[in-house]
């Protein structure tokens, strides 16, 4: 009992406050987004805003349960929880129901649950538990491979459900591995690959290869002119040229048609205002029309008249942008940044590796959602349907993020006691 009393006094209050603020902003935005004059009460349970309030209430109950759980449970049962989630991911492939092309939902009596949302949490737990072992070091190939395996398994299972967005989220764990000592090269090479990919789509492989040759030849003048460097540059040129040539093949044969269009739309190679470009175009109009101060609560014409699809879920940021303007969007982004920085500070003060790795998992996953979701609504990333943490409509996602965050809050509050 002594421990439980101290829990609530030791909880990181600024984070809790940020969580509650974002959740409230989400609820009000959902209300504005699907506002229906016939059901004008924000508590009307037949509407999404009424339901979201219910989800929020249940999320807080969930949070309370987490705070009352013994911290050792999370470390001790990490692999068990991970195993259960993997089984659920397999089960959903076999028995799940399909929504918007993704077979990723369990439907139990009108109630929908998306296991992929919880897989992010359990992957974080499993990774933390694994790296917490005394015999694991990320410099070891074995440790690195097992870590990647832990991350890749749920990712591939989600991909099999045609839920590309959620599958990509697992890529965020690279950030965790980076913090724990993974070389920066994967990050840098990944970034270069993305840049080359985009350049090829814009200019075609030939010009990119010519450009590469020019750049590499230029850099030769700043190097020592010996055979070794020439061979190195040639090797770099050969590998990157191979990559460049394969881009078109991957783009045309591996990606699905809708993914191709989304990328083309993003790069401005395809207008398609009625098709794939529609969401992004409408979303930009909604945000752009907000101006500096916004149109005011419930005054948004774009979102209220349902021009933006998925506006209460993946495109909820539009409502914020339209009704609260630049001021509102800056505040929301500011709140997220504050949350992330606070979480980094918390993660760094953990004595146990388990706590720190788990903390960075929470940061990485939330940051990835935040970055991709907002980038998508303002036309900086292709349309990848993933929710904005705490703000988007939906029980599964809210509970999963609440669970992740509160487990970390609990670990942090108990940091002096845990192993």
């Amino acid at each position: 009992m002594r421990e439980n009393k101290s829990i609530f006094s030791q909880i990181e209050f600024p984070v809790l406050l940020l969580y509650l603020t974002l959740t409230l902003i989400g609820w009000l935005s959902i209300y504005a987004a699907v506002y229906d004059e016939d059901h004008s009460s924000i508590f009307d349970i037949s509407q999404r805003y009424g339901k979201q309030l219910l989800w929020i209430g249940l999320a807080l109950v969930l949070g309370l349960f987490v705070m009352l759980t013994d911290t050792r449970f999370f470390n001790g049962f990490a692999f068990a929880i991970y195993g259960i989630t993997i089984l659920m991911l397999i089960a959903v492939l076999l028995f799940g129901s399909t929504t918007a092309g993704s077979k990723s939902w369990f439907e139990i009596g009108g109630f929908k649950l998306q296991p992929a949302e919880f897989a992010k949490f359990s992957t974080g737990l499993a990774l933390a538990a694994f790296l917490n072992r005394l015999d694991t070091h990320l410099e070891q190939t074995r440790t690195l491979l097992i870590s990647i395996g832990i991350i890749a398994l749920p990712s591939l299972l989600t991909l099999a459900q045609y839920d590309t967005g959620s599958a990509l989220v697992f890529g965020a764990f690279v950030l965790v591995l980076y913090r724990e000592g993974l070389s920066a090269w994967p990050l840098i090479l990944g970034s270069i690959a993305v840049v080359l990919f985009i350049l090829v789509l814009y200019f075609g492989p030939l010009y990119v290869i010519i450009g590469l040759a020019v750049v590499l030849a230029g850099s030769f003048f700043f190097m020592r002119r010996n055979v070794q460097n020439i061979l190195r540059l040639l090797a770099v040129f050969a590998v990157s040229s191979l990559f460049v040539i394969s881009v078109n093949f991957v783009f045309d044969n591996v990606l699905e048609p809708h993914q191709r269009t989304r990328i083309n739309v993003l790069l401005g190679l395809d207008e398609d205002l009625r098709g794939a470009g529609y969401n992004v175009h409408q979303s930009k109009i909604a945000i752009g029309s907000g101006g500096f101060l916004g149109k005011g609560f419930l005054q948004g014409t774009q979102t209220k008249f349902n021009f933006v699809p998925e506006q209460s879920t993946d495109f909820i940021f539009c409502t914020v942008g339209e009704e609260w303007g630049f001021l509102g969007t800056t505040i929301v982004i500011g709140l997220y940044i504050m949350l992330f920085l606070r979480l980094i500070r918390m993660a760094e003060r953990q004595r146990a590796i388990f706590n720190r790795v788990y903390g960075y998992s929470v940061i990485a996953v939330m940051f990835f959602h935040f970055a991709i979701n907002i980038a998508m609504t303002i036309g900086l990333a292709p349309v990848i349907g993933i929710p904005l943490p705490f703000v988007s409509y939906g029980g599964s996602s809210l509970w999963a993020f609440t669970l992740m965050l509160f487990v970390f809050l609990k670990l942090d509050a108990n940091r002096t006691y845990s192993s």
Partner: protein, 607 residues
């Protein structure tokens, strides 16, 4: 402490987060504060431009009788998302559809869009509409949209008036004014005068949401434009003449064309068999059209402008006129006729011999016109037979033959007048008057349409000129929209005295003791005419007759073709006579002749 080794990475991760946050804020600053274009776009989104359909122009005859008007019809539309039906059976009974149709249509509408309206039942009549609208409040998500349907007070002139249908893709591509679901004239006058008849669409600006739900009118309709009703088309047609002509042609195959010689206005354009124009309106249009298309008697063909026949004896006058004008013969030139023993063309009539041009026309003497035609080709002023034939060909074109008048209904054909090149090709250059002798009596390669034949009658009646035959006399309230070539006078450049000679000969057909149409003379006025029999290699000859009246200053020129009816004097001449009587005197006083024509025509199937 393993983690301490990579402590500096905390800063890098923090930096990544800050950079991304910064990029977002800068981007949002440009989107929301700097860039003004999205504010405009948002206005476009909320305003929906709703088209207001104009009423199509109506069509009147020369006396102001209504031929085509509009009747309101209603499409029942559904927005699947809003649709709520408690009693499906009652709903189906109300709409007179069966439950399978109901399910199929609702599924189709859902497939198209749950939010946008789809047509559920199209073209519901005014009567049904009144009944349904009273109960429609039981069924949210369903609503009516007004449309107009063409209506024909008299079931006549279907080929002239044409029909209206929904635009197809090719038509939309040709003229972007048309949008899916718009109506367009598909044939006849509806097609030719489409631009005048269609009017101008109006625009109503509504505030709508993305589901097309109207949220009220924008700025109280300040920027709305009203639709402009299409222009009315006034025809030269006389409804009574048209109707009577169609009546006389029932059960016969052929056509009648009557023209006002003074203006070229078409008074009647009958083709038989025909159909009730109301068949090609509304929901049954597609089905009925296919039935007509596949009908063995081909009722969709407009024989008056699209049927071609060898003109036979009716052609002899023009050959005579050209011969007189070129000096190949004169009024007194006589040729002898050996009747059935004539060579190379025998004569089927018995008459005095030798004879001059006027009695030759009256008696339709073949040998006379063979000699006349040979004289034209051998005329020294025309530089040899081949050049002479080309000259003759050009003259025929002056008479409106061998080419289109570009009249105002589609599917007009030019007929055929063979020229020098044609024979050079067919006979590899070696041919002469003998080779092409059938041209002298209007047989062989010559083909004319009933419209050209009627125009020929008008030219003779006018003594030398014509206006291209056309149906409309004015469009809207001003005349200037009529194509200018309709008011352009065409000359044949043949002296009037030769025409008078031909006229006298044609007058004798009605008035003379041996005239082939003397039995059909009307005492109130003098008519001139000429019978013709077009040889038909497939069966009984076609009966032809051309005429005009009154002879001195004709007000009507007419051509009648009855297919497979034998001699021109048996069927075509009395029909022409009755129609001229009706048009000039205003009534028909020969009921026994009318009865004979209606009841005694041999059933074509038995032939």
């Amino acid at each position: 402490m393993e983690g301490k080794k990579f402590n500096e990475r905390r800063q890098i991760i923090t930096l990544i987060i800050l950079i991304i946050g910064g990029i977002f804020i800068i981007r949002l600053f440009f989107l929301q504060v700097i860039n003004q274009s999205y504010k405009l776009s948002s206005q476009n989104n909320v305003l929906r431009f709703v088209t207001q359909y104009p009423a199509r122009g109506t069509i009147f005859d020369r006396n102001g009788e209504l031929l085509v008007y509009n009747e309101a019809a209603y499409d029942l539309l559904v927005i699947p998302r809003q649709a709520k039906i408690d009693d499906t059976l009652a709903f189906c009974r109300l709409l007179k559809i069966d439950i399978t149709t109901f399910r199929e249509r609702l599924a189709a509408a859902r497939k198209y869009s749950r939010f946008r309206p789809s047509v559920f039942v199209e073209q519901i009549s005014k009567e049904d509409y009144g009944f349904i609208i009273e109960k429609l409040y039981h069924y949210p998500g369903f609503f009516f949209q007004a449309r107009t349907l063409r209506k024909y007070p008299r079931p006549i002139a279907s080929h002239v008036l044409g029909d209206v249908g929904e635009v197809n893709n090719a038509e939309m591509e040709r003229d972007p004014i048309y949008k899916m679901g718009d109506y367009i004239g598909k044939s006849g006058l509806e097609k030719f005068y489409e631009k005048a008849l269609r009017g101008h669409k109006g625009m109503k600006i509504m505030m709508v949401d993305v589901h097309n739900r109207e949220k009220g009118s924008y700025q109280n309709g300040l920027y709305d434009t009203l639709p402009v009703t299409g222009k009315n088309v006034y025809l030269g047609m006389d409804v009574r003449l048209q109707e009577y002509g169609e009546k006389l042609m029932v059960n016969k195959t052929g056509s009648i064309v009557a023209i006002d010689p003074a203006t070229g206005e078409i008074l009647a354009l009958v083709t038989s068999p025909n159909y009730d124009p109301n068949l090609l309106v509304g929901r049954a249009r597609g089905k009925n059209f296919n039935e007509l298309l596949n009908h063995p008697q081909k009722p969709l063909i407009n024989r008056a402008i699209g049927g071609t026949y060898p003109p036979g004896s009716t052609f002899k006058m023009i050959n005579g006129l050209v011969a007189l004008q070129t000096g190949s013969i004169d009024e007194g030139t006589r040729f002898s006729c050996q009747g059935k023993g004539s060579s190379p063309i025998k004569c089927t009539h018995s008459h005095v011999t030798p004879l001059s041009v006027q009695p030759a026309i009256e008696n339709s003497c073949n040998p006379f016109f063979w000699n006349t035609f040979r004289n034209i080709l051998n005329n020294p002023n025309l530089h040899g037979q081949k050049k002479a034939l080309q000259y003759w060909h050009d003259k025929m074109l002056d008479f409106g033959l061998g080419k289109r008048f570009k009249t105002d209904i589609p599917f007009e054909v030019p007929g055929n007048i063979p020229d020098r090149d044609f024979y050079d090709k067919v006979y590899s250059g070696s041919w002469n008057a003998m080779t092409v002798r059938s041209l002298s009596i209007g047989q062989g390669e010559i083909l004319v349409t009933p419209l050209q034949l009627a125009n020929l009658a008008a030219i003779i009646g006018n003594e030398g000129y014509y206006y291209p035959p056309h149906l409309a006399r004015s469009i809207g309230e001003e005349n200037d929209t009529l194509p200018s070539h309709f008011t352009q006078r065409h000359e044949t450049n043949i002296d009037r005295r030769y025409f008078r000679l031909v006229k006298d000969a044609m007058l004798d057909v009605f008035e003379g003791g041996g005239g082939t149409a003397r039995r059909f003379k009307v005492k109130e006025f003098q008519a001139a005419g000429k019978t013709g029999t077009a040889e038909n290699p497939h069966g009984k000859d076609h009966s032809l007759f051309m005429a005009f009246a009154p002879v001195d200053k004709p007000t009507i020129a007419i051509a009648v073709v009855v297919e497979n009816a034998g001699f021109g004097s048996t069927w075509a001449a009395p029909i022409a006579s009755l129609l001229m009587e009706l048009y000039i005197t205003g009534e028909v006083k020969r009921p026994e002749l009318e009865k004979f024509l209606l009841e005694n025509f041999p059933d074509p199937v038995e032939q």
